[in-house]
């Protein structure tokens, strides 16, 4: 708890967190589907203070050619933070951190994509973080999963992603920036609705019991996120279906 003494932050006030949430409460989530006209599939996600845009292109021809696989499609995932996404201007371009996040995010999504349907092609996923507030990789994966579905790419299931952390010796769901920076642990996971985990990372320290507790909590968060992903996808077409019918009725009147 050295970090805490130094920064002098108390994470809980009357049992609630700094932003008024309970320990097991996620931040508000907003998902919009099909926001980019030029991409084959796209999605915009707001997860608390995070604002993330995902675009999917493909399956399309692979360039450069030598990356091509004869029997399956390859998946490329680029996680990128806008220079204005954080308080101190971030030097633009890929760095160690975003390369690593691109890799683990790709590996979180690849298991559900039926790459064998599109040999010798590539599915490109671009994730742009417009505003960061801890948990951008989970927001990015949530957005990418919806954008892949929107692009009509065959998948065994959706992927939902959420983090759990430890602050002031308490396990909390979906840590925000202050909790992430000054907390004791942060553990993002990604999983299918059936509970198969495709990403599990952790930094900081957790006892075995705390670890199990954190996984359980993060999985609960993922299941809630899945319901919102599902709702936003289905609404896109129910909304359109209602419109022409209404227009027709208006004509009759």
């Amino acid at each position: 708890m050295i970090a805490m003494d130094e920064s002098n932050i108390s994470f809980f006030k009357e049992g609630l967190r700094l932003d008024g949430r309970r320990a097991d409460e996620p931040r508000p989530l907003k998902i919009e589907v099909g926001v980019l006209a030029r991409a084959d599939g796209s999605c915009y996600v707001e997860m608390g203070g995070n604002k993330v845009m995902a675009a999917v292109y493909g399956p399309r021809e692979v360039h450069p050619r030598h990356l091509q696989e004869v029997t399956r499609a390859i998946v490329r995932y680029r996680y990128n933070m806008a220079s204005f996404s954080v308080e101190e201007r971030k030097r633009p371009g890929p760095d160690r951190r975003s390369n690593e996040l691109s890799k683990v995010s790709r590996e979180a999504l690849e298991p559900v994509i039926l790459t064998s349907y599109f040999p010798r092609s590539v599915i490109d996923v671009f994730v742009e973080v417009l505003q960061a507030d801890a948990g951008t990789r989970t927001a990015g994966i949530n957005a990418a999963s919806v954008a892949l579905a929107d692009a009509g790419i065959p998948m065994r299931s959706m992927i939902s992603s959420c983090a759990a952390g430890k602050v002031a010796d308490t396990i909390v769901l979906d840590p925000m920036k202050e909790e992430d920076n000054f907390g004791q642990a942060d553990m993002p996971i990604a999983m299918t609705p059936a509970g198969e985990i495709t990403l599990l990372q952790m930094d900081g320290h957790l006892t075995i019991d705390e670890f199990h507790q954190a996984v359980e909590l993060a999985m609960k968060g993922c299941r809630d996120i899945y319901e919102i992903q599902r709702k936003s996808l289905i609404e896109k077409y129910n909304h359109l279906e209602a419109e022409p019918v209404l227009a027709q009725e208006a004509e009759v009147l």
Partner: protein
Amino acid sequence: MDRMDRKVVIPGDLLSEEAKRSGEGTFVKDGKVYSLLYGLANYRDRINVIPLAGKYVPAPGDNIIGVVKDITFSNWIIDINSPYDGLLHISEFPTRINADEMSKYLNLGSSIMTRVKDVDSTMKVELTLNDRKLGLLKTGRIVEISHTRVPRLIGKGGSMISMLKKELNCNIFVGQNGRIWINGGAEDMDLALKTILLIEKEAHTNGLTDRIVDFLKKEKGARN
């Protein structure tokens, strides 16, 4: 189409407990049928999921519209609106021609009505022009829509497309790859274009054919 037997589904949705009802766009796991795609599930004997988006993947027998993008020794490389290019071999041209005269018959940018002859496991797509219906498109216009909308443009048993041909006084050919060739008078083609784009936009809605008939009546009324 009945409103009750269609429903929007997302990847991973459970569609049925009976493995034998698995149709296109679905997969079976532990004896149950799940959706592979984000699209409309059609509950018939078999359950099919029709995607709402996605790229065209060529299959043998498909009639499609392509554009010549390159000429190699004895092959034309054809853009077929897909992640994969089509290959049209010189021997698949209806008349015998010399390899050095290929561009006289089909040059870069030429549009052709063609058929997929064969697709192998590495997605090498072989095309053919050996049919009287197939060949170079010299007149008319080409529109591009998503290939997932093609079944709706054709309609049940060709109901939509034959109605369009009659009402619009145009010759229309719908390629499986989402490219559509229209040939007719300038005004008729303008209306045909508008109508096709409207069908693409509203492809997933019910009672579309009737609505399109109304739309055409109104548009034609405005013209006269």
